[in-house]
Symmetry: C2
Subunit: 471 residues, 2 copies
């Protein structure tokens, strides 16, 4: 049956686009190399109609499908299991920018379009597409939408979901839902768009999207502030929101230990105030008027913050090069962690108001459980989203620590998150990595609603089987 | 059985809060008095637990439930049918403001809280809750969320859905989903929140919500511009977005005939440029800095617009009183229409870029079908949302026109909307009024997905039966 099935896929997509032999690890192994899957085949349809035919063929043969974009996800959500029975459906050939509508401030692109290409296409037309994250050079917009990606501009522009007006989707039945809408208001029934967004390919395959564009800011300025505690960082955030309103487009916080790793492993980078301050805050202001205006706004804010006492020192980048350097420090934290050795990563959120207490409490609990443990704490404070990573005590073997303590540390951190009304996955999603954690921490009512929806829209459980919800 | 059932409801909510006799028309007749229903009873639970018990009692007795807030909807979505078998579940006693979290910029309120009270509670705490619409003095936030209400600030702050971070919902099974989250990022599964929002009470009952707050603007300024055509209005919108960015919080367009009705019926109101201009545009700018700054921004924009030629004349309100007067003109259009006599109302959206062509084409088609027909065209141009209302030719009897031509006019307008990629219900929802129109204009794939979701989450079809989807 397998050979006939593969022939069928080949007749849909063409011989060259059904891969069933040779090294398929680029599609089978996840980004962080935590899972080594085995695919029945990798199929690369060239358009929406071919995607629909592939889904129908899989449905008829009862073969499970794993949609995949740039395969840059962090929760093992887009690679097959090791059974050799799943088909990887790669969207990478659907990469066209279909339309830019300047007066409507929208862009319509196919799922396989790389995020950076999308940003560039918007820029070329004179607009901003604000979604921005570390993997933007290789992740695809389809994957961004399937996982409701976050990133560094959420504070102002929202998550991927907030940037999307309409979708084209191949349903689990292999039908095409033509929901590509450029409408900002449309109250004609259930919100199918937001249901498919963030469903991680378990309800259907996103093949294209209509997304919001924004006018380009006239100027963008970056500042770095030294703060003495997480409480002061939250106080600074409130002041910044008051002074800058919607011009505040970035607010990243970085703990002293995280910054010390950057200093240690990337000596060429200058990290402001890293010896004196418990936390560094990176602020970004996008201004519709001019650089002069943005600078005046920033100076007024920082004066108020120094006076109020929540900031002990601050610097505003004098040039684009300086601004890039400051962002480079922020972006180098994950790489510095790699240099330092494996650590236990978390992508959590709690209400902004509760972050100081959460960090105090959880730091103390971890120190008690593992004396000398080191916390690489940084993240998007404006969204309540911390990458609260746990590194072995100095001198300990990182791999052994990871192996022996990961479960214990995860349980401790996730239990704390739940006590503080937070989320165990703020922006990375669930994939297979967090399926059992989700069952533990999500409310049973919510889980049973989710299962009912899954069964209703994918009755044979063939769409990204085992991701997000257990098989 | 009916008596036993009513006794059960009384034992849940108390004698005084189950109404089954006397004049119940306040709950049975819709806002526009288009439907005269008959309820088995009106039940007014006092808290979430009582709501859950009522839903369970109705489920056990297989009695259909109609959730109701302020009963100000425009599509007959919150009143019972005339069978005398449905229970109206009024949320009006659940009206507490549960919490304001200043550092997190959130407010948590119960469903029955009147929108204006919510705005006032936010203001008292020093924040803005931006949802604003004509019925705000009596509509409730639960109804706003159930219908994903729009209004005049959508351009900047989005629809009700965009303002909501979390919900508490009584499901169709009578269980409570505690989804009240103050999180701006949470990727742990399907977006149940956005599914309940806009589902018009057909999947469950929203009992409370956590909503976004914004810093209060330092100043708000209003301007009125005269434009020669819808093309010029769209050009002005583009300029305004470029100059003002997120400070542009209102952009309303009004056709000359709509304004002439205001002049005719409310002689005390001064309508700028109404004799010379084909359209008036009301612009609002909310500024984080100062009135001086806002005024400078507005002046620069209007100078650019006069130079560009898309505006022939403009005035900026010199005082709050003048600004209120300009908004009063805009808000008087519906009342002026009432004075002029019944008309056929539409609440449509098309992509902003296509509005000029849509209006030209549809005006011509209507004139051809009904020579002398008059168009009361006004709306939220920034969102592509027009209230494109059709009034009888001068001298014709309005009621007779309505009776004879409503179907024909609706069909003509909705067919045009569909050709232009628009929506037949931009912000009012579907209710019972547009159920059959929705079946005609919505894609069969989307409808079958919606039906599958409805069956999965409300298998006995008891939640607001017959609304949004046919019975």
């Amino acid at each position: 049956m397998s050979l006939i099935f593969l022939e069928q896929l080949r007749s849909i997509c063409g011989q060259a686009h059904v891969l069933a032999e040779g090294d398929l690890s680029a599609w089978e192994v996840d980004w962080r190399k935590r899972s080594f899957g085995k695919a029945l085949a990798v199929v690369r349809p060239g358009n929406t109609d071919e995607v629909a035919q592939v889904v129908k063929a899989c449905l008829a043969a009862r073969v499970s499908l794993v949609p995949q974009g740039g395969n840059t996800g962090l929760v093992v959500g887009s690679t097959p299991d090791d059974s050799g029975t799943q088909v990887v459906l790669s969207l990478q050939r659907l990469r066209a920018v279909r339309q830019i509508d300047a007066a409507n401030l929208t862009i319509t692109v196919e799922a396989g379009c790389v995020l950076q290409h999308l940003q560039e296409a918007a820029l070329q037309a004179g607009f901003l597409f604000p979604l921005s994250l570390a993997a933007e050079g290789s992740c695809t917009i389809g994957g961004n939408l399937a996982t409701n990606a976050g990133g560094t501009q959420v504070l102002r522009y929202g998550n991927a979901r907030d940037l999307c007006l309409g979708l084209e989707v191949v349903t689990a039945a292999g039908e095409v839902w033509h929901g590509l809408s450029g409408l900002r208001k449309d109250n004609t029934g259930y919100d199918l768009r937001d249901l498919y967004i963030g469903s991680e390919g378990t309800l259907g395959v996103i093949t294209a999207a209509t997304l919001k564009l924004y006018p380009l800011p006239a100027a963008r300025l970056t500042a770095w502030a030294a703060v003495a505690s997480m409480d002061e960082a939250v106080a600074l955030l409130g002041l910044a929101q008051q002074h800058l309103g919607a011009s505040l487009t970035g607010f990243e916080v970085m703990g002293q230990f995280a910054l010390s790793l950057v200093v240690k492993h990337f000596a060429q980078l200058k990290v402001p105030f890293h010896e004196s301050a418990a936390f560094g805050v990176l602020l970004e202001c996008s201004d519709q008027e001019s650089e002069t205006h943005a600078r005046a706004l920033f100076e007024r804010l920082l004066e108020a913050a120094l006076e109020n006492g929540c900031v002990s020192d601050a610097v505003v980048a004098e040039s684009l090069a300086q601004a890039k350097q400051l962002w480079h420090v922020r972006e180098s934290i994950p790489l510095a962690q790699v240099e330092e050795g494996l650590n236990i990563k978390h992508d959590i959120s709690v209400p902004v108001s509760r972050i100081p207490e959460f960090v105090r409490d959880t730091d103390a609990l971890l120190q008690k459980a593992i004396p000398g443990v080191r916390l690489v704490n940084f993240g998007h404070l404006g969204d309540g989203n911390l990458h609260y990573n746990v590194q072995a005590p100095a001198g300990n073997d990182a791999a052994a620590f990871m192996h022996e303590r990961e479960d214990e540390v995860n349980t401790l951190v996730f239990d704390a998150v739940q006590r503080f009304g937070g989320s165990i996955s703020a922006e990375h999603g669930v994939g297979t990595l967090k399926v059992s954690k989700l069952e533990h921490h999500k409310s049973p009512v919510a889980l049973s609603l989710m299962r009912a929806i899954k069964t209703a829209l994918d009755p044979h459980n063939l769409m990204n089987t085992g991701k997000l919800l257990r098989r």
